[in-house]
């Protein structure tokens, strides 16, 4: 997963794909000196589990706030400070304006940005440059990418079962 772009990740419900898709990337990014920012995570990011999956948890910084303005502000500060390599944010009700501001904050910065939102917000004029939807059908997980910059929608990709 290339950094320098922002992703908008839509999940139907917590607990079916979500962060396990990102974990290998996070484990790799966390080995440096830069921070991984977890903004408004839905539950406690469980240190023993993350550590056993190779994430350097010394570099994790959790920001607990459920106000949209503060979430976006925190991400702006993180990308401006150049001391973060990734910012993962959870906000179910993010509106287009917030997503656009979020996108602006990350543009041209060397930072991986992921925003988890609700599927109800899926619209045609989605400002995020890349959206993927993790859904579950036929006892398998599928990743759907309805929009991406420089390219049309592509068909769903079955997600290999990830081990915990």
């Amino acid at each position: 997963m290339a950094s320098g772009t922002s992703h908008r990740n839509i999940t139907q419900q917590t607990g079916i794909g979500e962060i396990s898709i990102l974990l290998p990337a996070l484990a790799q990014l966390s080995q440096g000196t830069q921070r991984l920012l977890f903004v408004n995570p839905p539950y406690i990011p469980y240190a023993p589990s993350l550590f056993s999956k190779g994430v350097n948890i010394n570099n994790i910084l959790v920001v607990q706030t459920d106000k949209l303005t503060e979430i976006v502000w925190a991400i702006e500060q993180a990308s401006r400070s150049k001391s973060c390599c990734a910012s993962i944010a959870w906000y179910a009700e993010a509106n287009d304006q917030a997503i656009r501001r979020y996108q602006l904050a990350l543009e041209n910065q060397k930072i991986l940005g992921v925003l988890f939102t609700k599927p109800a917000l899926r619209k045609k004029n989605n400002p995020a440059p890349w959206t993927d939807i993790v859904r579950e059908a036929q006892s398998q997980k599928w990743i759907e990418i309805p929009n991406r910059r420089r390219g049309g929608p592509i068909s769903s990709i079955p997600l290999a079962r990830l081990n915990h």
Partner: protein
């Protein structure tokens, strides 16, 4: 040894003069409120002189402004000057009533040469708004005497010093009875003349102390000075001329105080990790804010930025009349040394800035790092940690990525736990039975379970009550 003496001859006058407009004659009276001890240029023009009585001065200039002398204010001003000069050398001493002595000999190499320091000090004093006589000499007493005679010079060695001292008037030497005319009766006027008199006679006639002073001035005997010590904590305040009504106006004052605080911290080679800001409103009600930092700092820009973020979050009373700042905890902070090889664990200064900014706006408890904790109870196997600390961690396998802050009670249908339909147990049980030594004893059987829509969750059965709880979510 090279001592620089900064003599402020008009100190009593200057403390009233700084920041005030300079028109009209004004004088400063002694503690008896009658005798004039200092006066400005305009007062001199109308014929007022020092030691004149106040009534005589009023007769010459009816609209004369009169200040009473403030000795404590004078000493505080000397202390501030000493603090300011500490960047040249830690050997600073205050000489009452109106001088500051600083030993610059040890700092010559750092500032290239003595003349350079000398000039730099006089520029600094001018910037502070004082009239000063500045002289450097190999002994502190010689430097003091020279400034008292108004001589501004830089004397490098003792031989050169002797020729200067020989010409100074004898009235500089303090006798036991403090009589300025003590030496006149014997027909001597300069220090050079008395130096040629037999030592025994000097001691017999004027006391041993006079001899000591001469020896100290010429550098024949050591003259240790009581060094000025920095206060343990920094404390300063600034009254605002006009009440501040916006955060920007408050920050203007805060910035000045923070500059002073950073000067203090830099002199003590320390960084502040917690400081208090107090804003007094028009009714003198205090509004206190405590600002904590993730690691000690003395970067004025950074500290001001944190105060700004914090004040933007608070509702501030409309009219602020005074701003106070004091350091709460400081830690020693040596200047950063540069390594040839970069340390992979070292964080950039940006990192600290980011953490402090986030904490200032979102709240201290809401910005944290995470760490593992050696405890078998899942809720105690992790804890929040200070983000700037590096720690060693423990590995435990088969743990979920997410943990619920409070276990959620699950309903059961004929003994099977339900979560959006019945749950299928995949792995387990893993019995965790520990914590008997404290009130949070646990006896649980943990299972990895699968929901109807393929989500994997971590549930447990509480053994004493037999109820099922959801405790974690695997991704």
């Amino acid at each position: 040894m090279l001592w620089t003496c900064i003599n402020l001859p008009n100190l009593a006058l200057d403390i009233f003069h700084i920041g005030a407009d300079d028109n009209g004659a004004y004088v400063v009276t002694d503690s008896d409120h009658r005798t004039i001890i200092a006066l400005n240029h305009q007062a001199q023009k109308v014929g007022i002189k020092t030691l004149m009585s106040l009534s005589a001065a009023h007769a010459r200039s009816p609209d004369l402004k009169v200040h009473h002398r403030k000795p404590t204010h004078e000493i505080n001003t000397l202390k501030q000057t000493a603090l300011y000069l500490m960047r040249y050398s830690p050997h600073v001493s205050i000489s009452i009533p109106n001088s500051v002595l600083i030993e610059i000999g040890a700092s010559i190499k750092l500032f290239k040469d003595a003349r350079h320091i000398h000039q730099s000090i006089s520029q600094d004093i001018k910037r502070l708004g004082f009239n000063a006589v500045i002289t450097s000499a190999p002994t502190p007493l010689a430097a003091t005497w020279l400034t008292q005679c108004g001589v501004e010079t830089l004397i490098h060695n003792k031989r050169e010093l002797a020729s200067h001292l020989d010409r100074l008037p004898l009235s500089l030497i303090k006798t036991q009875d403090n009589n300025p005319q003590a030496f006149q009766a014997v027909g001597m006027r300069t220090i050079g003349e008395i130096k040629n008199v037999r030592r025994a006679s000097i001691a017999q006639r004027w006391g041993y102390d006079v001899l000591q002073q001469i020896d100290k001035a010429y550098g024949n005997t050591p003259d240790p000075q009581k060094l000025f010590e920095l206060p343990q904590q920094f404390q300063s305040k600034i009254p605002l001329n006009f009440p501040a009504t916006s955060v920007e106006e408050i920050l203007f004052g805060v910035n000045r105080l923070i500059q002073q605080m950073c000067q203090y911290l830099s002199n003590t080679k320390r960084g502040v990790s917690c400081f208090k800001l107090n804003l007094l409103d028009e009714n003198l009600n205090p509004h206190r804010y405590c600002l904590k930092l993730s690691s000690p700092s003395r970067d004025a820009k950074h500290l001001t930025h944190i105060v700004k973020e914090r004040l933007n979050q608070e509702s501030i009373p409309s009219r602020i009349e005074e701003i106070q700042i004091n350091t709460e905890t400081t830690e020693s902070l040596s200047p950063e040394s540069k390594n040839l090889f970069t340390d992979i664990n070292s964080k950039s200064p940006n990192d600290q800035t980011l953490i402090d900014l986030l904490s200032a706006r979102i709240g201290e408890g809401c910005v944290y790092g995470i760490t593992t904790n050696p405890d078998h109870r899942p809720e105690y196997a992790w804890k929040k940690s200070s983000p700037s600390r590096q720690r060693q961690h423990h590995t435990i396998h088969n743990r979920p990525t997410w943990l619920l802050s409070e276990p959620k009670l699950l309903s059961t249908t004929s003994g099977t736990p339900q979560l959006r339909g019945p749950l299928t147990l995949i792995e387990g049980p893993e019995r965790i039975e520990t914590g008997w030594w404290d009130p949070h004893r646990v006896r649980r059987d943990y299972f990895l379970a699968m929901t109807q829509n393929q989500s994997r969750v971590w549930i447990y059965q509480d053994l004493p009550t037999r109820s099922w709880f959801l405790h974690g979510i695997f991704s």
